[in-house]
C-alpha cells in the first residue's frame, strides 16, 4: 500500500444546504477521512448525521460547500467521469422494463462497451451474485434480496475500484440481510474492491467492516473511528464470537456519546 494514493481522501469537507439563508442547515462539517485501497469502511450514526450526504459527496452527486474529496489521484468529479466507483442504493433501482441481464448491462451500455463484451461481463457478474438462471426475468419477478444482488452485480459490472453503498440491505428482512452480508463479504474479498457502506445497524457495520466510522448529527461530524480486527474471512460463527460482542458494545457506546436520546433504538 505504501506509495500508492489513498482510495478515498476527504479533508475539511463541509456541506451546508441553503447557505446564506436564515434556514440554512449544516449537514456536514470538518470531515477528514482517509480510506486505503481494499478497506471496507462503514459509516454509522443516527438519522440526520449526514452519512448518506457524505456518500453523495464522494460520488460527486453533491458538491461540498467546503473542503476537498479525492478518489485515488483524481478529484471527485474526475473520478465520476472516469467511472471509478459503482453505487448501490437502499432501493435496488432496477429499470423494470429491462430484463435482469439488460439491467446489469446498463452501465456497460452507457460506457460504450461492445455488445459481446457487455453480455459476457454481465453474465460473469450475475454468476458472482449467483443469479445466472434469472437473467431472462424481469425485476418484479425477483424477491427484494435478489433484486439487491442484481444491483450489486450492476455496480460491479464495469469493475470500479470503489463500491459506494447507501443502506443497501436496509429494506431486507433479518435473515436475508445476514445472507446478503456474507455474499457481499465474499464479493469484496474476491474483487478487492474498496467499499464505503452506510448503515443504521451496529451488528451489520461490525460484521462487515475493517473500520467503522461513527458520526454525530447536527452538524454531521466524525466522532470515532473504530478498527474492527475480527480477522478475515468472516464466518457465520464470527457473529457468536466474544470479540464481536465487544466491538458491538464499543460502537454502541460511541453512538451513545454522540446522542444519548437517539442511541436507544439501536440497543
Amino acid at each position: 500500500m505504501s506509495g500508492t494514493a489513498a482510495a478515498v481522501a476527504m479533508s475539511g469537507v463541509g456541506v451546508t444546504f441553503g447557505a446564506g439563508r436564515p434556514n440554512a442547515v449544516t449537514a456536514l462539517e470538518g470531515i477528514d477521512l482517509t480510506i486505503q485501497p481494499g478497506e471496507f469502511v462503514s459509516l454509522i450514526g443516527p438519522s440526520g448525521c449526514g452519512k448518506s450526504t457524505l456518500l453523495r459527496v464522494v460520488a460527486d452527486l453533491l458538491s461540498p460547500s467546503s473542503g476537498e474529496v479525492r478518489l485515488g489521484d483524481r478529484s471527485a468529479s474526475e473520478a465520476r467521469a472516469n467511472r471509478d466507483y459503482g453505487m448501490v442504493f437502499q432501493s435496488a433501482t432496477l429499470l423494470d422494463w429491462r430484463k435482469i441481464l439488460a439491467n446489469v448491462e446498463l452501465p456497460l451500455e452507457i460506457m460504450g462497451f461492445d455488445p459481446d463484451e457487455r453480455r459476457a461481463r454481465a453474465r460473469e457478474m450475475l454468476e458472482l451474485v449467483r443469479l445466472s438462471e434469472f437473467e431472462d426475468h424481469y425485476p418484479w419477478q425477483l424477491s427484494g434480496g435478489m433484486q439487491q444482488r442484481v444491483a450489486i452485480a450492476r455496480a460491479l459490472s464495469f469493475k470500479p475500484s470503489i463500491l459506494l453503498m447507501d443502506e443497501p440491505f436496509g429494506a431486507l428482512d433479518e435473515m436475508t440481510r445476514e445472507h446478503m452480508q456474507m455474499e457481499l463479504l465474499n464479493i469484496w474479498q474476491t474483487t478487492g474492491t474498496t467499499v464505503i457502506f452506510v448503515t443504521h445497524s451496529i451488528p451489520e457495520a461490525v460484521f462487515l467492516s475493517t473500520r467503522v466510522v461513527v458520526m454525530s448529527p447536527r452538524p454531521g461530524r466524525i466522532t470515532d473511528l473504530i478498527d474492527i480486527d475480527l480477522g478475515l474471512p468472516r464466518r457465520f460463527e464470527t457473529r457468536e464470537n466474544q470479540q464481536f460482542f465487544e466491538l458491538i458494545t464499543s460502537v454502541r457506546e460511541a453512538l451513545r456519546r454522540v446522542d444519548p436520546a437517539v442511541s436507544e433504538p439501536w440497543g
Partner: protein, 291 residues
C-alpha cells in the same frame, strides 16, 4: 389471446346493453305516452320514431342507398370517415410529435416550462369551434390547401395531453434512478433515452389515446368551416339538416363517427401492447379513455 377474446365479448356486451336500454326506454315511453310510469312527468327525450328510431332501423339504414339510386349509406359514411381519418392521423402524428417535443423541452428546462406552460394551458381554453374558422381563413390567405387547416386544428387538440403526460412521465423516475445515471456519468441524451423515455411510456400511451379521439374531433370540427364536402363532419351536418325526413341516417352517421374514434383508440392500444410487452404488476394497464 384469451384476454383479447374477452375484450371483444365485453365490447359486444356493452353495445348490446346500450341497444337494450335504448329500446327499453323507447318501449316504456310509447307504453306510457311519453311520461315516467305512474307520473305526469314527461320523459327528457321523446320516444317517437323521429327522436329515437329503432336500433334496427338505424343499422338497416346503413345498408340502404344514401340517396335514391346512389351508393349504400354505409359506403358513403365509411368513405367519409376514412377521408376525415386521414386528416386526423396527420393531425395526431404532428400533435404527438409537437407534444412530445414540448414535454422533453419542459423536462429539460424549468425556465421553458415556466415561460411557455401557461400559454400551452391557455391554448386549450379557446374553444375549437372558435379557432377553427380563423385557422381556415388564415390558411386560405396563405394559399394553403384546405386540408392543412383541418390537420392543424386536429393537431391543436392532440398535442396538449401528450405534452402534459410526456412531462409527467419524463419526471417519473425516482431520484435514485437519476443519481444512478449520473454515477455512470451518462450524458443527458443517454439519460433521456435509456431512463426517462422508457419510464414515460406508461404515461404517454393514455395521453396518445386521448389525443387520438381529440384529433378525430378536431378533424370533424375543422371540416365544417373549411367546407370540405368529402368528410364525415360535413356528412353529419348534412344528415342533421334532413333530420326530420330521415332521422336514422343521422344516427347512423353518429354511429360511424363513434366507431372511427374507437377504432383509432384501439390502434393506439394495439401499439401500446406491442411496445410494452412487460405489463408488470407495478405497471398497471392504463384505462381506455372514453371517446
Amino acid at each position: 389471446m384469451k384476454t383479447r377474446a374477452r375484450t371483444v365479448v365485453r365490447a359486444l356486451g356493452v353495445l348490446l346493453t346500450a341497444a337494450l336500454l335504448w329500446e327499453g326506454y323507447k318501449a316504456m315511453g310509447q307504453a306510457t305516452g311519453g311520461v315516467w310510469p305512474f307520473t305526469e312527468v314527461a320523459l327528457p327525450v321523446r320516444t317517437n320514431e323521429r327522436s329515437m328510431p329503432h336500433t334496427w332501423d338505424i343499422v338497416m339504414a346503413l345498408f340502404r342507398p344514401a340517396r335514391r339510386g346512389g351508393e349504400l349509406l354505409l359506403l358513403v359514411l365509411v368513405k367519409a370517415a376514412l377521408f376525415t381519418w386521414r386528416s386526423a392521423v396527420i393531425g395526431f402524428v404532428s400533435g404527438a410529435v409537437i407534444g412530445f417535443g414540448l414535454g422533453v423541452l419542459f423536462a429539460r428546462s424549468r425556465l421553458a416550462e415556466r415561460g411557455l406552460m401557461p400559454y400551452v394551458a391557455a391554448s386549450q381554453t379557446i374553444p375549437v369551434l372558435a379557432i377553427a374558422p380563423v385557422l381556415v381563413v388564415w390558411g386560405g390567405k396563405l394559399g394553403l390547401p384546405t386540408w392543412v387547416a383541418v390537420t392543424v386544428i386536429s393537431a391543436y387538440l392532440a398535442f396538449f395531453p401528450v405534452a402534459i403526460n410526456t412531462l409527467r412521465g419524463l419526471r417519473s423516475p425516482e431520484v435514485t434512478a437519476t443519481e444512478l445515471m449520473r454515477s455512470y456519468a451518462a450524458s443527458p441524451k443517454q439519460e433521456l433515452w435509456k431512463l426517462q423515455v422508457p419510464a414515460s411510456l406508461p404515461y404517454l400511451f393514455p395521453a396518445l389515446k386521448i389525443a387520438a379521439t381529440a384529433s378525430v374531433i378536431g378533424a370533424l370540427v375543422g371540416e365544417l368551416p373549411a367546407g370540405m364536402a368529402d368528410g364525415l363532419g360535413r356528412a353529419i351536418l348534412g344528415f342533421a339538416s334532413s333530420f326530420s325526413a330521415a332521422p336514422e341516417k343521422l344516427f347512423a352517421s353518429v354511429l360511424i363517427a363513434a366507431m372511427l374514434g374507437i377504432g383509432f383508440v384501439g390502434l393506439v392500444a394495439l401499439a401500446e401492447r406491442l411496445t410494452l410487452p412487460s405489463l408488470s404488476p407495478g405497471r398497471a394497464e392504463p384505462e381506455v379513455v372514453p371517446a
